[in-house]
């Protein structure tokens, strides 16, 4: 039993030892830091982009709502609702993204 084990160990050692062990490139650390900097830039700009998109969307919704419903008496409450609720809708959306990201789900 022990001899069998020794034989197999020998086979494994002999077989795998000739395969060269890999080496990391000397510039690995700077390349990681460089990549982190790039990702940071992308992340910041995508945050701004999302915020600007949300603002444009909100303005469009407001303008459309004002244009379509301002003439109708019964929709004044609706307009107020649009005016006050939409910021919370977008903030809620951004907040939920942040929560998901913090929990590592996205």
């Amino acid at each position: 039993m022990k001899e069998e084990r020794d034989n197999l160990e020998l086979i494994l050692k002999k077989t795998l030892s000739v395969i060269p062990a890999p080496e990391l490139k000397a510039d690995f650390v700077p390349s990681v830091i460089e990549r982190i900097k790039k990702e940071e830039k992308v992340r910041v700009s995508s945050k701004w982009r999302a915020l600007i998109q949300a603002a444009i969307y909100w303005v469009i919704v407001l303008v459309l709502s004002l244009g379509l419903f301002s003439g109708v008496e019964a929709n004044r409450i609706y307009l107020l609702m649009v005016f006050f609720i939409t910021p919370f809708v977008f903030l809620g959306y951004l907040l939920s993204l942040r929560v998901l990201r913090l929990r590592g789900l996205i």
């Binding site: 069998e4 197999l8 086979i11 494994l12 077989t15 890999p22 650390v29 830091i33």
Partner: protein, 194 residues
């Protein structure tokens, strides 16, 4: 300086010098762990996976709660990411990839062609057999026999007790013996003895 202090320094100041220190300290170990998960013929991908690991560490370091040591957390993250990469991309071992390892004898001369061919065949068979092992067994075999890591180091990097690593090694050898015997008969493993 202790890892946890460096992590705290990085979290407080966001100073990239602190993060560089962590990368510098763990780059080799993380690379070896990735290599042992991906296997011997994915060196290029291993470096890419390693970069991904440190990038993820940078993004998620705020989630490090300190319940385990930073090292354990980092190794666990590395193992999971390397395994994910392997599952997504798969690894194919062919005669070509196993063949060219630049095998030379002790004096630096290239071995006899027939001997070389036979050893290539044997290498292919053994590596293919290892690839058929369960994930953890395969990783342990590569770490121990290919990268020459002692059992204690394997245990530390995989977050397992030493006894468990030894028992995985035992089980892996048993499975390998069965796989090789099925292909080549008992002679291959017992060296011709009955």
């Amino acid at each position: 300086m202790e890892d946890e202090k460096i992590v705290a320094w990085f979290l407080e100041s966001g100073d990239q010098a602190a993060f560089s220190l962590l990368v510098e300290r763990y780059q080799k170990r993380v690379f070896r762990l990735v290599c042992s998960v991906l296997g011997p013929f994915s060196e290029g991908s291993a470096e890419e996976v390693c970069q991904e690991v440190f990038l993820k560490v940078y993004k998620k370091i705020r989630l490090f709660s300190g319940r385990s040591s930073f090292r354990t957390w980092l190794y666990r993250l590395t193992y999971n990411m390397a395994l994910d990469w392997r599952r997504r991309n798969g690894v194919r071992i062919t005669g070509v990839s196993v063949g060219d390892t630049g095998a030379k004898d002790d004096e630096g001369y290239v071995c006899d062609p027939l001997e070389n061919l036979l050893s290539q065949e044997r290498r292919l068979l053994v590596v293919q057999a290892i690839e058929r092992l369960p994930e953890l067994c395969r990783t342990i075999i590569y770490m121990h026999y290919w990268l020459d890591s002692p059992v204690e180091a394997v245990a530390e990097e995989l977050g397992l007790p030493e006894g468990t690593v030894k028992s995985y090694l035992f089980r892996a050898r048993q499975s390998l013996r069965k796989i090789i015997e099925r292909k080549f008969g008992q002679v291959a493993v017992n060296g011709g003895k009955k």
